[in-house]
Amino acid sequence: MDKLFRKKHDLWLSITFASFAIDDEEIKSRLYDFALIAFRHMKWIAGNVLERGENYNYDRDIMLYKRESVFDILEALESEIKEIQNFYPDDELGFRMKNDDNYLLEYISQVINNDKNNKKITAFNMQRKWLDKNLPQDQIDALTLFLFDESYKEYELILIYAYMQARTTNIKQYNIYQDLIDESQFHLKSFANMMAKLGILALPRELHEMTYIVKDLDKFIKDSIDEEIAAKEMCKELSEAIKDEELSRFFDFINFQENYHIELMRKLL
């Protein structure tokens, strides 16, 4: 199995979850942009692996950077980026990835050079308190379960759709998979940032190959549509139950997005 793909999968998650863990909106946003670039690297590496007639999987070695300060997280990320350089090939893709990484390293070093950026990380403190909201415990409990379930599901869907996208030769299907990946990236970002606010940010668990090697596409899509409908129902229940206008509106918004998400999936049938 491809070692570079595995390393890039880990790095994509590390950048993504560093972005979720850090409160500062500017650093969060810049890191998230780099995370999306790393995801594209992953996609390109996957394409090259398949072109060589080889394969890759979604096994990983990553440990989430549960650090206490912004600099601790960024320094750990810096080491991981430096380490992956040894795995890049001497070809156009390798040069591109090195250049992107160097730019990210430069950005990290700029952030680290300003002590004001070294804020405390609260994303892992398990306090389950939303500081600017006063949610009762039963609502926090329901929200906690929802966020764990859905953040895993979004990560799962991103990887399954990417796996199928890499293997289709049908342009229409390819584009639908891309839309579905983009949708799930946005949902993962939204849910994980909420988890960080609550102090319960956690890495979605690893995918077993039984999950992403799809033998029967029609059945998979039909099951996924059922899951989306269930997720919509959960969103609706949360929206009705949570007595906070902003959160309630957000869950209504996600619920509505799922309608078209389901429509996109139907187009795959």
Partner: protein, 161 residues
Amino acid sequence: MFENVKMPEGMSPEILEHLMNPKNYGKLDEPSCIGVAIDEKTGEYVIFYTLLNDDMIEDVKYATNGCQDTVVIGSMFTDMIIGNNLEYANTAIQKMLEKLGGLTPQQQICADIVFTAFIASMRNFENLKNGEKEEMHVLKMKDSCEATGMQEETDKENKNG
């Protein structure tokens, strides 16, 4: 208010820890046996890897595409049985259910699928011991997902090796 929203009892710090860092999650490189419990209606599965030394459980891992209740129960169950013998493992699920207190019907289904996957791995072990070539043993869950309702099937399609 949250009748239809699944929630572990009281969401204790212990449950939260299992949610954030599930124990024994993943695969074993060289297990003695592998079992799968699958709900064909929903596609939800649990795969269970067991490493035995005589009747002692040296190591286990599990993976699932199921909900967080399944993850938490799998994490607790595997934690309980590692380092114990098979006799203990067969009673562990009951001990765990007593510890967790009253489960919702949905959580009971999650507990059943975890335990059924473990049983499937034991069936795989027996079959391998009897000279069969079976990569993993698959047990299909019925809607009730109760142990008596399990439908056994040695899934030929899953014999990838």
